[in-house]
Structures are given as structure tokens and as C-alpha cells.
């Protein structure tokens, strides 16, 4: 390879651009619309250089600019009360939001999508999804402490599903396990709508002391800008290859992966190295490199800072010396960070890099010009106002309208009868239905996946899959910790986007409260189809409106998240899938509430009421039906239920709690029994009379704001008094029976735990080995 880099490219300088206004540029190939290209020319007062075009095209993409959703996302910042802001230390807009935990502790968490890379190359797509979200957490100054991963794949028996499943799970494990981050939960949903568009979302949570919070900005003239971590290579360049006009030789590797390739070892070293930098207060600002690579890091750091930035691009350490300036700016090579360091700290910074054997390159410095200037061997190839790249991209008011088919869909309720096996009534048929349900792909045991993840590392995991929420200790002295749950139901949201999004929040909120934690903050990953389809745009708008309203009503602010659009195959979009993560706080994780029964003789209570709500249910899915209206949302009841569960945990009134959601009471009872292999005797006659439903409906309805708890006999009076005082429906439906080794429900043929376990645990191994 030649070292005379300037010989390899026709460098398109700013001067050249000014002198050659009529040069044809491949803006369309880079994904820009004509109006967007014209806007760039207007902003610059000339045509962009090739390098500038590369930067604008990636930073103005849907993924980086949120141009279709921005107008709607504003509601998350607007529908916030003073009370909700009380514990928010850093809100939306930074790499991740930060919430006050008390005792000087802060927690940061965020959920993101890595959907399309995970379809193209499931292992690397899913692995680098974990890598990216973890770097967001480090960027805030936090030590990452856990990850979670909600997954949505095509039908379980489709030939391509195994490819995606094996790859994504191995990728999440291979990367996450190597970072030393416990995987504490997630979701696994199979549905044909995700066949060509699997959803691989990743959540990371980190903790820090208040004084360690770091922000992504470049301030202070004369401060140095440094790029460190892995070298920059040709992976994840995507569209930049069309800038071929920059190159006039043919020495390039002919094929480059569009999907980034991860190196978890490099990331682990980067984590420890960054924490040591934070500890020594050696960086003024820091930003991870993710989507849009150096384009994003330089423009965002400069835009958030108080001046400008000057960078010499040939200083970037390369894995592939043939990269052009545009490719270097766009490369999404993993495990890289950019930081701003004062001249006094340069030596100490380098010592930390050397200790961890991390490569670094000083690229330039912070200026007071208000411009982001990038040079190539001294010649200016980028001269822009960084705000125009990072923050003032296009914003669209995409047209949207309630789809013409929505009314007909909502009118098509689940009927079913005993005759067509839609509503079984006989004891043997009901037992068969319960077994069928808990063996179904979406309700079956997920340990085939979770046993491939390390849940122990760190020694602070107090609860993980299959309990309702993952719980991690933050402070070993006090037991202070956090609980996390993620939820979404694409079927509900398809039937009614406004209420469906609220149901996702309600379930995640309920799961966190079920563990005994007080819900505090929300992060969301909005997975939708094409915003250029008015039907999809309506789903997105309605979901955001519903979710933001519900956050306000439940008093939990959105602190960050991500939007993933264009998840569709041809003109068929996925079900709208707003994945909602809720974070809660536990003063002492020793008080967490697990989901399974243990102690013989404890009373089992059902909290909440049950209506005939089978539309969109897992049972309806098993019968091939999707129509009608999702279960009714009652956020006041969710809040009340949450307070009961939190108080009961705090005061030691319950030994187990399990939320009822997909699969209803039937799934809840089976899961609570199988958790520790302890059975129960259940009688629902009183419930049937009180709520006016039949036994099938009582078992399979997915009515919300419900949970089952087991109460020690000594606490029963106190527990009932609390529910009565709060006016919340509660009913003793049974008793834990440790001797029976069965789940006995009056009116349902007794089910042995062994048979239930075989059904529940056999499904994933059957399909995936």
C-alpha cells in the first residue's frame, strides 16, 4: 500500500466545490431527496464537497435525523409535569437519559433497534446492537451493569426463522457475555409479520455517581479532540461506496460488509478504559461512534459545544488504508469513542490508553469559529455549521389518516364456541387448552435462549428471567437497586395504536411494580413500517400520542429511545411495535418479589377484575384470529395495582407476585407453579359470579391491571384490609399446595406439573435443537 495518500483520491476540496458548481453529485444514491439536496446547497451557499455530501446524507437520514417522527416525538417532552421532572437529571436528546436514584446515585438506560442488520447478518447485527447501546451508556459516564433484549421473529416453523434465531441469540450472547454484563430479561415473540423484518432491540442500563455524569459536547477553545478504540475500517459504510468518483484506483477490497462487525474484547477494554478516564476527570466531553460514525460524532460534539471544531482526517487510524475521506466519515466501524481533552490532561489521557493498550489518534481541536472544519492533508474538505448537520436536518409533516380498513378490523370480534374449539368448556378440553397455550411459541418457556446468556456476572443480579422484571443491585452497602422490564404487543397495537401503545407501557409498568420496584422512567423503541404510507404514519402518530398521554397519567417520563421505520416487506408493514422499557427503583433489592410459589398453604389472591377480552389475545392467535379491540386500558387501576404491589413487597405481605398479561390467568397460574415446581388448588366460582364470565374466559381473557399474589397466612388480614381500603378488587382464588405436584383448578381436569413442564419447556428445543 502506498503511503502517499494524497495520490489516491481526487480530493474534492471546498475551494474546488465553490469553483465547480455544476458537478453532478450522487445525492439520490446516497438517499437524499431533491429538496434535501437543494437545502444543503442553500445552507452552504455552494454545492457540497463529496465529504460534506457524505456527512449530510447520513446525518439527514431517517435513522439519524428522526425527520418523519420528530414532530410527533415532541409530545414526550411536552407532556411532562414538574413532578415527573423531579428526578430527571438528563432528558431526551443526549446519548441516554439519566435518572436520580438517591444517595448520590444516578441511573441511565436506553433501548435501541438493530433490526435490519440483524436480518441481513443475524449474528453480527444482534452483537453490534448490544455494542452500540452499551457505548451510549458509557458515553454518559456510567458503568454499564446489565442488558436486555426484546426479540421479534417470524413464525416459529418458517425455514428462515431458525437462521435468524440462532444467529441473533448467539450474537447477543457472544457479545454480551464477553462484556461481563448480565442479561436480565427481554421478550421473544413469533409472528409472521416479522418474517422479513425481525425486530432485534437492545437495552442497556448503567449506573454512576451524580458527579460523574458526562455529556457529549466539545467546549473550550484549544481543547484536543481524540478518537480512540478500534481502527476505522470499511464495514458498515452502506451508501458511501457510490462516492466512487473520489477514487481513481482499483486497489479496494471489492466487497465490503454493509453490516458492522463487532469485537467484544475491544469493547470490554474500552469500557474499563473509559471508566478510568472518568475517574481521573480526564475528558471534558465524550461521544460514542455509532450510526454515521465520525460524521455524527464530530458534528454532534461541535453542535452541542460552545464553539467549533477543526479536524485533520488523515490522522484517523485506518484498518483499510484505501478508504476515501467520505468513507472514513461514514464508516460505522464498532468500538470507537471520541473525546475532548484539555491540553493539561493529554499526558494523563495517553497513560490510560497505554495501560489498556487502546489505540488513539489526536484529530484536532476545539475552536471558536462556530464551524466544523475537516481537512485532508491540510486542504479543507468540509466547512459547515455543525448545527446544520447534527440538529437542523429536514423535518417532515408526513400525511397520515386512519386506515380505511381499521373500522372493519375493529368490528371483527373473536367469537369462537365450544363446537369449533374456540371456547372449550368441558374439564378435559379446558386442561388441553391450558396445555396448548403454555406450549405455544409465544407463551412457552424461553430458557433455550436465556441459558445462552450469562445472568450472574457482576454478582449483583437479584432477579432475572423468567421473573416479571430484571433486578440489579446498585449499592452493595444499602441494597439500593433498579428493576427493568420491556413490553410490547404488536397485535394490540395493530387493532388500536393509541391504546396498544398504552398497553405496552401499562404492562412494563406493572411488571416493574410486580417486582416491588417503584416505576421511575421510560425508554421506548418505536418499530414501525414506512412513514411514507399514511396508514403506517397514522399508527406511529397514534402510538406516540397514546404513549405520551399514558406516561403523563402514570407519572413516568420518557428519558430517551429510538425510532425504527421502514420495517416492511414490499408494501406490507410489520405490526406497529412500540417496545416500552420501564425502569423502577428498589430501596433494597432483598425485598424484590419473585413470580413463583414456594410455601405450602399460602393463599393465592387475584387482584383486579376480568372481562370478556379475547380480541388480540394469544388464545385468539392460536385460533388464527386477529380482530376486534384490545383489552380496555385503565391507567388509574394500573397505578393503584402498582401501589398495592409495591406496598405489599415493602411490608412483607406477599411472597410472590406475577402480572397477568398475554395468556391471561391460565398462563399466570402455570408460570407461578412451574417457577419453583410447586402446585396449587384453585377455585374460580366466586370470580365467575362476581365478574359475570365463564370459566374459559376467566382463564384466557387478557384483561389488564391484574396480578396474582401469594400471601402468607399471617399477612392475609393485613393484605385484605389494604386492598379494601384502596377499593381495589381482590379475591382469594386458591391455596399453594406443595404436596400435589399438580395444578388443580375446579372445573378443569387436574394438570400434573411434569406434563405442564414438558409442554412448556419442549417447544423451543423442538424447533431449534
Amino acid at each position: 500500500m502506498t503511503t502517499e495518500t494524497n495520490k489516491k483520491f481526487n480530493i474534492d476540496t471546498v475551494e474546488n466545490a465553490a469553483n465547480t458548481p455544476d458537478t453532478e453529485l450522487p445525492w439520490a444514491e446516497l438517499g437524499l431527496k431533491q429538496n434535501e439536496f437543494e437545502e444543503i446547497v442553500k445552507v452552504l451557499g455552494r454545492r457540497p464537497t463529496g465529504a460534506e455530501l457524505a456527512m449530510y446524507s447520513v446525518m439527514w437520514s431517517e435513522h439519524c435525523s428522526y425527520k418523519s417522527s420528530k414532530n410527533h416525538l415532541r409530545q414526550f417532552g411536552q407532556k411532562v409535569t414538574e413532578e415527573m421532572k423531579k428526578d430527571m437529571l438528563v432528558g431526551i436528546g443526549e446519548n441516554a437519559g439519566v435518572t436520580n436514584l438517591g444517595d448520590g446515585w444516578a441511573v441511565t438506560f436506553k433501548i435501541e433497534s438493530h433490526n435490519s442488520p440483524s436480518f441481513v447478518e443475524p449474528y453480527q447485527g444482534a452483537a453490534t446492537g448490544i455494542g452500540g447501546i452499551v457505548r451510549d451508556i458509557i458515553s454518559m459516564g456510567a458503568r454499564p451493569v446489565a442488558v436486555m433484549d426484546p426479540l421479534r421473529f417470524g413464525e416459529i416453523d418458517h425455514p428462515d426463522t431458525a437462521r435468524v434465531m440462532h444467529g441473533a441469540v448467539a450474537g447477543i450472547g457472544g457479545y454480551g457475555n464477553s462484556l461481563g454484563l448480565p442479561n436480565i430479561g427481554g421478550e421473544m415473540v413469533f409472528d409472521s409479520v416479522y418474517q422479513g423484518n425481525p425486530l432485534v432491540n437492545a437495552l442497556a442500563v448503567g449506573v454512576m455517581r451524580h458527579e460523574d455524569i458526562r455529556l457529549a459536547n466539545a467546549s473550550g477553545k484549544g481543547n484536543k479532540v481524540v478518537l480512540f478504540g478500534a481502527r476505522t475500517g470499511g464495514d458498515g459504510i452502506g451508501g458511501a461506496s457510490v462516492l466512487a468518483s473520489e477514487s481513481f484506483d482499483d486497489t479496494k477490497p471489492s466487497k465490503r460488509p454493509a453490516v458492522q462487525v463487532g469485537d467484544p474484547f475491544a469493547e470490554k477494554v474500552l469500557i474499563e478504559c473509559c471508566l478510568e478516564l472518568f475517574k481521573g476527570s480526564l475528558v471534558e466531553g465524550i461521544q460514542d461512534l455509532g450510526a454515521a460514525g465520525i460524521s455524527c460524532a464530530t458534528s454532534e460534539l461541535a453542535s452541542n459545544g460552545d464553539g467549533g471544531m477543526q479536524v485533520e482526517l488523515t490522522n484517523v487510524l485506518l484498518r483499510d488504508p484505501t478508504l476515501t475521506p467520505g468513507e472514513i466519515l461514514m464508516s460505522e466501524s464498532q468500538e470507537r469513542m471520541m473525546a475532548v481533552v484539555t491540553p493539561e490532561n493529554v499526558e494523563a489521557f495517553e497513560a490510560v490508553m497505554d495501560k489498556w493498550a487502546v489505540e488513539y489518534a489526536w484529530l484536532g481541536e476545539v475552536t471558536d469559529t462556530g464551524r466544523l472544519i475537516i481537512t485532508w492533508e491540510g486542504e479543507v474538505i468540509v466547512d459547515v455549521d455543525p448545527r446544520t448537520v447534527a440538529h437542523d436536518g429536514p423535518v417532515y409533516d408526513r400525511p397520515y389518516a386512519r386506515p380505511s380498513w381499521q373500522d372493519a378490523l375493529q368490528a371483527d370480534h373473536f367469537t369462537g364456541s365450544a363446537a369449533d374449539a374456540g371456547r372449550p368448556a368441558a374439564p378435559a378440553e379446558l386442561a388441553a387448552a391450558v396445555t396448548e397455550l403454555v406450549a405455544s411459541p409465544n407463551m412457552c418457556d424461553k430458557s433455550w435462549i436465556t441459558k445462552q446468556y450469562d445472568r450472574y456476572v457482576g454478582g449483583n443480579t437479584a432477579m432475572a428471567f423468567p421473573d416479571d422484571a430484571g433486578v440489579v443491585r446498585v449499592d452493595e452497602k444499602t441494597g439500593l437497586g433498579v428493576a427493568l422490564a420491556t413490553d410490547a404487543n404488536g397485535r394490540y397495537t395493530y387493532l388500536d395504536p393509541y391504546n396498544g401503545a398504552q398497553l405496552a407501557l401499562a404492562e412494563a409498568y406493572r411488571n416493574v411494580a410486580t417486582s416491588g420496584a417503584v416505576p421511575m422512567a421510560v425508554s421506548d423503541c418505536l418499530n414501525f413500517g414506512s412513514p411514507e404510507d399514511p396508514d403506517v404514519m397514522w399508527q406511529l402518530a397514534e402510538s406516540i400520542r397514546g404513549l405520551s398521554d399514558a406516561c403523563m397519567e402514570l407519572g413516568v417520563p420518557v428519558t430517551g429511545g429510538n425510532v425504527s421505520l421502514y420495517n416492511q416487506t414490499g408494501t406490507t408493514p410489520i405490526h406497529p411495535s412500540p417496545v416500552v422499557a420501564v425502569l423502577g427503583k428498589l430501596d433494597d433489592v432483598a425485598r424484590r418479589t419473585p413470580s413463583g410459589w414456594k410455601e405450602d398453604g399460602q393463599a393465592i389472591y387475584l387482584l383486579g377484575t376480568t372481562a370478556d377480552e379475547l380480541d388480540g389475545s394469544e388464545w385468539a392467535k392460536l385460533r388464527g384470529h386477529l380482530g376486534g379491540l384490545p383489552p380496555r386500558v385503565d391507567l388509574a387501576a394500573e397505578r393503584e395495582l402498582g401501589e398495592i404491589l409495591i406496598n405489599a413487597s415493602r411490608d412483607g405481605m406477599v411472597d410472590s407476585a406475577h402480572d397477568l398479561s398475554e395468556g391471561g390467568l391460565a398462563a399466570g397460574l402455570v408460570e407461578s407453579a412451574l417457577r419453583y415446581g410447586v402446585g396449587a388448588r384453585i377455585a374460580l366460582e366466586e370470580l365467575l359470579e362476581r365478574d359475570g364470565v365463564d370459566l374459559f374466559t376467566a382463564l384466557f381473557s387478557e384483561s389488564q391491571a391484574r396480578a396474582i399474589v401469594s400471601v402468607p397466612r399471617s399477612e392475609e388480614v393485613r393484605f385484605k384490609d389494604m386492598c379494601t381500603a384502596r377499593g381495589f378488587a381482590h379475591l382469594r382464588i386458591g391455596v399453594v399446595d406443595a404436596a400435589s405436584n399438580a395444578l388443580e383448578i375446579n372445573g378443569v381436569e387436574a394438570m400434573s406439573l411434569d406434563a405442564l413442564r414438558e409442554a412448556h419447556e419442549g417447544t423451543l428445543p423442538k424447533y431449534f435443537g
Binding site: 457475555n177 470490554k268 441459558k451 452497602k477
Partner: protein
């Protein structure tokens, strides 16, 4: 020397008799369970001392734990690069010296010990080819080593297991020798999670000061943060064993 980046502080252990005993915990690039091993030492009553792979001298410690993780990303072969760290040569010398420094290798630490030839055999990929995390029953086959004296012979303990390359292999002659000399320290009970020869989970050297195993006793030292059954603290005995040996005398 590096300070282990701890989150919060662990409760102080009760037995002040042991806290003068210092156990070094080695950190390599890519080590993951170093903080957990240090916590286990503290909970057992001892004092954990952070050791850095690049140190050229072995600090004043009474024993050493080489914790789990993916040192150097398991690149080339698990443990193959770490074995050449400057500190490792000091540890190898100390383990082989007359003083017989107690050394425990857990998971990746076990792999490093076999690569270092302190222990025979090697680990290859699990027979099912996947990473596996589960609570595993082990039988303590030898309770005369520096790290197992607080267990009863034949005692069954429950500790987490989590690895991808955990299948213990050695030639038949070596396996026969290990069996004959009572150097199989731990055996998997009920379920062999990775295809290890003769269900071997861990082994000791002839002197009993160097022990390596794939499962993670340091993840079973604190109730509520380890296995849910058996109280979750079956792993504590590794650390109390060596601490009691160091301070001398029985519990």
C-alpha cells in the same frame, strides 16, 4: 497495580481473624469476574488485593485467584495469550516454589492454568457448541486441597456454571493418573453440561495448592445473588478454606 472498579462497598465480614489474609485477584484485559472474586474474598473474611497482568512483581499476597472472563477475547485459544503475561510467570514460580502459593483458577482462570502447565489437560468447546449458563451440582471429590478443606469429602454443592469452552479433555493416561492420585477435585453430578471427560469439573495439582475448575464458586457466596436453591452460598467454602489455611488452625 490497578484499583478494581467496584460499585458500592460490600458489607464487612464478621470474622476479623481472617482479614489480615491477603488474596490477590488478577485482572487481564477481558477479565470479567474479577470484582466478583474480590467480593467473594471479602465476604469470606479476607482482604482482596487487585493484581494487574502487566505487573512484573507479585505483590505481597498469601494466595491468588485467577478469575473468569474472556481474557484477550479468547483469541487464538482461551488462556493462550494470558499465559504469557509478566505476572503469570511470577505466579507460576510462586506456585511451584517450596512455599506453594495457593492458586485458584475459575473458568477462564482454569484455562489459563492449563495453558501455563500448572494443571494438565485442556478445555475445548462444549459438546453442544453453545454457551451455557446454569446452576450446576458438583461433588467435592478431594477435600484436602488448599481450596476445598472446608468441604466434606463427597459433599455436593450447587454453583453457577457459564461458559462456551468448558469441555475438559486430556489423554487417557493423564486422566488415569488424575483419578489414581485423587487429583479430580470436582465432578459434575446429575448432568454433564459440556461433555467433559469422566465428568471432570475441576482438578488439583499433586501438592494441592493449585486448583482449577470451570464452574464459578464466586457466584455462590451471597444469598439472593446466586443459585436460588441450597441457600445460594455453597461457593463460599473455597475462599474460607484458603483463608483458614493461611491464618493456620481450624475454624
Amino acid at each position: 497495580m490497578t484499583e478494581l472498579p467496584l460499585i458500592g462497598e460490600a458489607p464487612v465480614a464478621a470474622d476479623s481473624r481472617l482479614d489480615g489474609a491477603k488474596i490477590g485477584v488478577v485482572t487481564f484485559p477481558g477479565t470479567l469476574d474479577d470484582r466478583d472474586a474480590a467480593r467473594a474474598v471479602r465476604l469470606a473474611g479476607g482482604t482482596a488485593v487487585a493484581l494487574w497482568h502487566a505487573d512484573t512483581e507479585l505483590a505481597d499476597v498469601d494466595a491468588v485467584v485467577i478469575p473468569g472472563g474472556f481474557s484477550y477475547g479468547d483469541y487464538l485459544r482461551a488462556g493462550a495469550i494470558s499465559r504469557f503475561a509478566p505476572l503469570m510467570s511470577k505466579i507460576i514460580d510462586a506456585a511451584n516454589s517450596d512455599a506453594k502459593l495457593p492458586v485458584l483458577g475459575i473458568c477462564n482462570g482454569f484455562q489459563i492454568l492449563t495453558e501455563s502447565h500448572l494443571l494438565p489437560g485442556s478445555m475445548i468447546k462444549n459438546d453442544h457448541l453453545k454457551f451455557l449458563c446454569r446452576d450446576q451440582v458438583l461433588r467435592v471429590e478431594n477435600n484436602t486441597t488448599a481450596w476445598t478443606a472446608d468441604y466434606a469429602a463427597g459433599q455436593e454443592i450447587l454453583v453457577p456454571l457459564k461458559n462456551q469452552d468448558g469441555q475438559y479433555i486430556a489423554d487417557e493416561k493423564t486422566l488415569d493418573e488424575l483419578e489414581g492420585e485423587g487429583r479430580v477435585a470436582f465432578r459434575y453430578v446429575g448432568f454433564n453440561p459440556n461433555g467433559s471427560r469422566r465428568d471432570i469439573a475441576g482438578i488439583t495439582n499433586a501438592a494441592g495448592n493449585v486448583v482449577g475448575l470451570m464452574p464459578h464458586p464466586e457466584h455462590a457466596v451471597e444469598s439472593g445473588f446466586g443459585p436460588e436453591s441450597n441457600g445460594g452460598t455453597d461457593g463460599l467454602g473455597f475462599f474460607t478454606s484458603v483463608l483458614n489455611k493461611i491464618v493456620g488452625g481450624a475454624k
